[in-house]
């Protein structure tokens, strides 16, 4: 019974295609880190606008987050890559060198998307900090800014970490979509191999294994960070 499966799978092809696909891991990781960091910065700006208490800052943020969380990231990538160049003023603007390159479009799309998600995660963390702690800070005479930096932020970061790690993993998986705009990340290379060999199982299953290993490494890293950030809880228990 199982021999059918092993006859069917071309192990030779798996062994050959994995090194090829790994040539794209640099691009996958680059997209992940660059858009991850830029997205985090964007998320912090969005968060501060959102909790500023000023409607003219909060309202646009809410619209932005609604749009980017409410539409598929593939659509966003296509609009940025195929749609923007249709507008003459985009092609004539100083940003054209970024949008001309599929790489630039990919970074922009992934950053805008992850920024929207992460800012909501951060907001959840900030809202999760108990009022009592903030009031205690106020009683000590800390300014609003100091209370945010020294009390709210550190606790909020710890609270968001599990949700944030989810989002980073999800961003890593989203990077595979850039293969639709001609980039040769691991997915792009895999699709090319499949188109040449007509062997989707071998190639995509190997690709899955590579992604799973990456995910595992990321989970371990975040797990370690979570443990480290809550070591006061354990030592008290």
């Amino acid at each position: 019974m199982s021999s059918n499966f092993f006859d069917f799978i071309d192990f030779q092809l798996i062994l050959e295609s994995i090194p090829d696909m790994l040539k794209g891991i640099g691009l996958t990781l680059e997209l992940l880190f660059l858009s991850g960091i830029l997205g985090l910065a964007l998320a912090i700006v969005l968060l501060l606008m959102r909790i500023s208490g000023r409607w003219y800052l909060a309202a646009p943020t809410m619209v932005y987050i609604y749009i980017f969380r409410g539409t598929p990231i593939l659509v966003q990538i296509f609009i940025i890559y195929h749609g923007l160049p249709q507008l003459d003023f985009v092609r004539e603007s100083i940003f054209w060198p970024i949008f001309k390159e599929p790489y630039g479009c990919a970074i922009v799309a992934l950053t805008l998307n992850t920024g929207a998600y992460v800012s909501e995660i951060l907001r959840g963390g900030v809202l999760g900090v108990s009022r009592g702690l903030k009031e205690a800070g106020a009683a000590l005479g800390l300014s609003i800014r100091h209370r945010f930096i020294y009390i709210t932020a550190p606790i909020a970061i710890r609270l968001c970490l599990p949700a944030y790690s989810n989002d980073v993993i999800s961003l890593m998986k989203s990077t595979a979509l850039v293969s639709t705009i001609t980039l040769l990340d691991m997915m792009g290379i895999a699709r090319t191999i499949v188109a040449e060999t007509y062997a989707p199982y071998e190639v995509f299953i190997s690709l899955m294994v590579i992604y799973l290993i990456l995910t595992w490494m990321m989970q371990r890293t975040f797990g370690w960070a979570e443990k480290r950030m809550s070591r006061h809880v354990r030592s008290e228990a």
Binding site: H82, K100, T182, G188, T192
Partner: protein, 263 residues
Amino acid sequence: MKKTFTLLAAAVVVLALGAPQTASAETLRVGMECTYAPFNFKNADGELDGYDVDVAKGVAGLIGADLEFVCQKWDGMIPALLANKFDLVVASMSITDKRLKKMDFSDTYRISVGRLVGRKNAGFNLFDDAGKPIPSNFAGLKVGLERATTYSDWFENELPEANVVLYDSNEALYLDLVNGRTDMIMTNPMKAHLRFLGKEDGAGFEFVSPQIDEKKYFGIGVGIGLRKGNDALKARLNGALKTLTDDGSLERYALKYFPFAIH
């Protein structure tokens, strides 16, 4: 009884001797899709028209046969030929090894080629006078190609200097060429003419290479299909196609639909 037999025998003799001499006695049935413009399709008057149709008529005129067209869906084309529903396939069918196992083909009446399309007056100097690519002049050029096509094979092996960008669809290829994301694209020249160069979007673009005809990559081309074992007919078809090539008829047929010859 004897009289009847004599008459029959006479008729057989007349048929046997007379048939090859009277041109109209032979009728060749020709299978095609009838929906594959501009090669074989029904025009506004409901008449069959197109390059394949012209070739079929030209050949029939030369070998002295009458034609009867049979419209047949593509996936049943070869089975129908083998089942004797028609005698010839003149349907833009490419000659491949796989098909040659089941059927026979005449010489080509259309070739499989690739051709580069780029911006007009860009001053590309990519090919020498013999039509061979100059590899160093391709260095750093961004060339858009469809993923896993014969064109990407050709570039990979013959011009690794070029910076190849792979696309999933023909449309995206034209779009990014217009947007300036690629310097040029390589595709089938007929497709490029029909879908791009002949249209408004393609106005600022032109072919920037000769037709690249490398059989190793792009295949032999399109021929007239027939059942195996018809070598006499095949020889007559080839003779007629040679005449049509030499007297400029094939070029004339092509120029009705394209600004270049396709044989």
